[in-house]
Symmetry: C2
Subunit: 330 residues, 2 copies
Amino acid sequence: MQRVTIADVAKLAGVSKQTVSRAINNKGDIGESTKERVLEIARNLGYRPSRFARGLRIGESVTLGLLLFDLSIPYYPDLASQILQSAGKQGWNVVIGDAQGEWRRELDVLQVLARQADVLIGQVGSSDTVLLREFPGLPMVLLDHDAGSSGFGSVCIDFISGMRQAVDHLIKIGRRHIGIIDGVKWDRPPSPRRIAAEQRLREHGLVTGDEWSAAASPHAVTSGEAALAELLTRQPIIDGVICFNDQLAIGAMRELKRAGRNVPADVAVVGFDGLRVGGLVEPALTSVRIDNRQLAELAVRDAIRLLTVPKAPQKESLVVTPKLIVRSSA
Amino acid sequence: MQRVTIADVAKLAGVSKQTVSRAINNKGDIGESTKERVLEIARNLGYRPSRFARGLRIGESVTLGLLLFDLSIPYYPDLASQILQSAGKQGWNVVIGDAQGEWRRELDVLQVLARQADVLIGQVGSSDTVLLREFPGLPMVLLDHDAGSSGFGSVCIDFISGMRQAVDHLIKIGRRHIGIIDGVKWDRPPSPRRIAAEQRLREHGLVTGDEWSAAASPHAVTSGEAALAELLTRQPIIDGVICFNDQLAIGAMRELKRAGRNVPADVAVVGFDGLRVGGLVEPALTSVRIDNRQLAELAVRDAIRLLTVPKAPQKESLVVTPKLIVRSSA
DNA sequence: ATGAAAGCGCTAACAC
DNA sequence: GTGTTAGCGCTTTCAT
């Protein structure tokens, strides 16, 4: 790819490489006419400076690798946007890797990012054992990862608090028969979100368990619809639903309406994430909003720490506390 | 940032740089025990190979710079996702620059990207004159840009066809009083979308012009609401609205409902872009869908051309034809 | 199995 | 204003 070098331009222009460099970079100490001529020749040759050589020389510039599960899923663009912004404030470049919605692609994508970036941030599915083995020494900030921080940076989301707010809201508007639609990654284990919600429900003396919940693939509205249908069959009495995220919540609302239930009068729905799209559906979706701006700030700050203090000293884990936004209730 | 080098590791391990290199890169011709020891030391030192030095040596690897106007606007994530995918197929890395919704940031962002990338793709607001001056020799593929291709790559969207489909649909379902909500960048000029729509409306013998259109800031639902209110005041008889994009269309629908009009029975709304969110609102939004997958494929292919044939030979402009998707009508 | 030397393309420092 | 020298950190010969 990188064929024509500064030397080629210099030779053709009959000047030294240094002069070409000056022309290209708009430095001083160069005659206007020489500059023009050199630039002209460079243009003709299709010369582009090698960013590697330049980077090697200059030596500055941090590149952040951002791993996303799927940019086409509504949650990630906002996260990415905020990370881009926070990283930009540091003058960092950002390379993005997208697993395109398939966890099995994750390691490949990480492999690519690892070669390009100085530090990584991402919502990573792999265990820290795997990460440690595959990417020894690579500074990484894990978002919402259950790993005991083994030298990794980490920012977590306080699901306990988030779900407490969700449950309390439903209780407050008089709901007593509350179902859960959980989003599950590889099928089996209940998510931390579900666990947190159930815990709070029990604190209110309500019944929880498999009879009151349905599992769904987390990123499809349709699977939210299916999950709600399932829930409705098992517990027709239901008057409130807490969902793993907004996608599923929107699906649940759709299915409820299709089933002739009034939302939120008959059945109130609460989502999680606080996506903007929740404000556009009918009725507007109440949700527990994750502050991605704050998440991004913390993640980047932690990335800075990893870069600054390679021998990670230890740290208290960073936590983002989501906040309920009531867009429509009762 | 890049402090500890291969030489440091070598010295501390009492071996040569090459041996370290072999260990790091899992090459053969190295004793198992040496390898372990070297890796251990590298880990302790927090050594990370310089991607610049490596890149300079290896010399492969293409990096694509993607300029986005605003990743937090619903249109761009899908575009970005598709570009990421197309670029990934070529084994390219992608750095993303985001202007965060401000055109005036564009040049700065481009400046950053230009130093990182071998070729750029983006929906660029600046004129080709400016681009040529600021980034001489940088291969760029402009999306939906009105520039006479001055050596730039380019992929356009066929608004004529798209708006023909939109207008014809409204006509077909019996609408004869059709307004336009236009999205405008810096205020003044009617967008190509509006022009295309008006042209087709006139071909159907309908009245067009400023009396039948309202301008809105393109990326805010609320400005769609305001624009519709304005339209409704001027033309209460209105029974169809064509919008610059889906955001504005969703705003228009909201305002129509608020004004007591039935959508689509009283007033039918057509959007542009074909965002997925259009399928979630009530009623589902009929829209002219841009195939971002195809757009991305063409853009990347054109980027390849620019990289392969530096002296751009000439080209027919690449065009994506959007397609009407009727999600709810009459 | 390991080391020495060369050089990728560029720019900072210093001559001239 | 322009050229020369040196070297960024790495990998690729080629010796040993």
